[in-house]
Each structure stands twice: as structure tokens, then as C-alpha cells.
Symmetry: C2
Subunit: 207 residues, 2 copies
DNA sequence: ACCTTAGCCATACATATGTATGGTATTATT
DNA sequence: AATAATACCATACATATGTATGGCTAAGGT
């Protein structure tokens, strides 16, 4: 059914997904034309018609911005996961996306937030398990007792945060792992963000 | 800054949130007028102007559907929770929303899905705990081993689903609770939907 | 050479959409 | 009684938006 898209059509579809998923509102033909530098909406119109014909989008006639992603029928839209983060022992954080989670449409990213997949079980007493996706907000100040993502010597960890006098304690919610204490001036330490939520898809067998 | 909204304005704002968050695309003035039975777009126009003046939305002039929710800055948007659902013993399901979860914008509801807050711990071995929000999709056929929400004698339960020859088994993921077996013809039994995801906010202390 | 496909532009058109303005009725407040 | 705010309607207008049609070029297949 679905034929391959040409390069140009792919770029336009990418733009559509980016706008719809990211910005939340489908663009008008004029928007698309403007973005790609087309002087004419008819050009866009023809590309959209081609993309629709190949089954990737659906359009309602005469209505503005009425572009729907057919992908959405699958309920799941790919979202990049920035890296794996160790709840147990530190793992390397990857510069690029290392994996793609099938995140349901329920999961539209909060602005500036990002996702990490948790590996290990050091937070199991906080009910966060390996395979869970944590939603990380980098724009919040950590408070004592909150679960944070931190980078320590180029590796990322998820731990509960406690601020002491001269050092910061990162404690696991699992007695098998011991607390990490970091001097506040330690250079290669950085709080990446705060875990504001946990999401777990039920596609794979839970547990 | 933000003044109180009138009843009518509240209803319109609710509709806006519902459309933007649920359907993914802001409505046109005509859409809103149609929904509320207004014969005229100008009526809507004036309401929107009032709502904007009070700071709840932002509009871009001359552009179609260019209604933004100012709430979105807060990252969290209120979502109704339809009821409580017992993971342990059945509880009554409420006709209206009993509570409101601050669901992050990461959590845009899949179409027709709804939320339930889990009470009890019968699913703890499936890593679902009391207080968690389950996302329920009523439009999927349950398969063996999936976690479903079911109504049994006017009470709702969350259990793992298994289809047998003449009966349906609902098993808890916790040895403390015993399996429920229902004859397929039992009248007051109904599968409500399938749990497609679990969300837990980290606002309150986890655990 | 011929045809198809992709990619782009220009023009023209219908209407969907937002906007401005003025009017009426109701209710509450002063 | 006067005033203001809310809620709704009708009409008129400008333009944003989608659509239809034709034409032009480059690349590739037959």
C-alpha cells in the first residue's frame, strides 16, 4: 500500500511531524511553502497530494490545517531517547539518540524536557524499574528528596538528591547500592534535570 | 493578572483545551460556534477576546486556528480522572470525574482513551501501584496476558486478562489476591478497555 | 526520440476564516 | 433610573487558505 516517499516528500513529511507533534498545530500550505522557500502554495499542494496518495497523511478538503498523520492510527509515534541512564551503576550517556521508544500519542514532550530509559534497579524502592522511561525537566532546581538525573564523570545516573553542607548526596532507593557523595566543587559533576514523571508502555509484557 | 472567567467563558476554554490537547488541533471560530450552537462566529470571537484579555489564551491575528493555551507554560494541564479502579478489591466507579490529575503535557490523551487512578496493590508485581494513573484505551480487543480494566457488578477492577474456554479469568499480579473467574455469559461483566500505559507524577514524594 | 515522474512556478477562483461594527436582551451594580 | 457587563445576533468586509489548471525544466527508463 504505502509506497516509498521521495527525498523532498520525506522532508515535507518530517516537517509536518515536527510541527504537529512538536508545535502541536499543523501548518498551512503557506507555512510549508515559506519554510522550504517555495514561492507558491500550489507546489506544496502537489507534494501533499503525493504524500497523501502514498498513505502517510490524510487531508480534509477545504479546511485549513486539516492535515492528519496516518501514523497516529498506530497510536505510537517515534520519539528519540537521548541515552540510557543507570539507576544502578553509571553508564555512558550517548551524544545522539541511541534508541527510539514507541511513545504513544499520549506522550507529547513537555517543552525542553527529554526522555531517558532507565537501566538497572537501584530505584526499585521508588517504583522505578529498568525499561521505564523517565521524563526529565532540565529547567527546574532540584530540591532535597527529588529524583534527579546527574552526570558524573561522563556517565549518567538517576538518584534521589540531597544537598548537604559541602557536598551533594545521591542515594539509591535500593539498599544494594551505596550512596554517592560528591563535593560541590567537583568539576565533572552536573545535575542534568529533575525527573518529573515516569512512563511505562504496556506493549511489552510488564515485569 | 488573571481574572476569573465567567461560566460561558470557562466552557469555551474547556472546549479549547479538549480540542487542543485531545484532538491535537485548535478549532476555528466556526467550529466553536457550531459546537455551542451559536449561529454566529462573532459571538465566539467576543468570547475569545474576553478570555485572551484575562490571560488564558494567546491569539495570533488573522491566522486560522491560531489559539495557544497560556496554561501550557506551566507544563501541566488538568485532566479529569474518571474514577478509581481497584487493583485489589472492586470499588465503585464514579459517573463523573472524581479528581483531577496534573498530567504533564507529555501526556496527551490518545483519542477516546481515559485515565483511571489505581487504588490498591494487587498489581504490584506488574509494577503498578496505588496512586498511579493508568491510561485506558477502550477501543482495543484484549489479548491474553494484557492488563485490562473491567466492570464487574458495577465495580471496576484492573487485572491481567486471560480468555479460557467458557470463562474469562482476571488474575492479580499479587499472590495475596485470588483469581476471579467469570462465565462469558455473565450479564453484569464488561471489559472497559486495555491499559496501554502507566504514568506516575513525581510531584508528590514517590513511594 | 518518446514518455513518465518529480519538482517548481504563475494565475485564477471559491470559500473558509478572522475581524469590525452595530444592534437587542438580560442581569447585576450603583 | 442609570450604568456596566455579559451574552447573543446580523451584516459586511478583507484576506488567509485550499484548490484547479496549465506550463516549464531536469532526470531516467523504454
Amino acid at each position: 500500500m504505502k509506497t516509498e516517499l521521495t527525498e523532498t516528500q520525506k522532508k515535507i513529511l518530517d516537517f509536518l511531524i515536527e510541527q504537529i507533534k512538536g508545535k502541536g498545530i499543523p501548518p498551512t500550505l503557506a507555512d510549508i511553502a515559506n519554510y522550504f522557500g517555495y514561492s507558491n502554495r500550489a507546489t506544496v499542494q502537489q507534494h501533499l497530494k503525493a504524500i497523501e496518495k502514498k498513505g502517510y497523511i490524510r487531508k480534509s478538503p477545504k479546511l485549513s490545517r486539516a492535515i492528519e498523520l496516518t501514523l497516529e492510527d498506530k497510536f505510537f509515534v517515534p520519539k528519540p531517547v537521548l541515552g540510557e541512564v543507570a539507576a544502578g551503576n553509571p553508564l555512558t550517556i550517548y551524544p545522539d539518540a541511541i534508541d527510539t521508544v514507541e511513545l504513544p500519542t499520549i506522550a507529547r514532550m513537555p517543552k525542553d524536557s527529554f526522555l531517558l530509559r532507565v537501566k538497572g534497579d537501584s530505584l526499585k524502592d521508588a517504583y522505578i524499574f529498568g525499561g521505564d522511561i523517565v521524563i526529565v525537566n532540565p529547567n527546574l532546581e532540584p530540591k532535597n528528596g527529588q529524583i534527579v538525573v546527574a552526570i558524573l564523570d561522563d556517565a549518567a545516573v538517576v538518584k534521589r538528591f540531597y544537598k548537604k553542607k559541602n557536598e551533594i548526596e545521591l542515594v539509591s532507593e535500593n539498599p544494594d547500592y551505596k550512596t554517592i557523595a560528591i563535593d560541590k566543587k567537583y568539576p565533572s559533576f552536573k545535575i542534568v534535570g529533575i525527573v518529573v514523571g515516569v512512563y511505562r508502555s504496556m506493549n511489552k509484557k510488564a515485569g
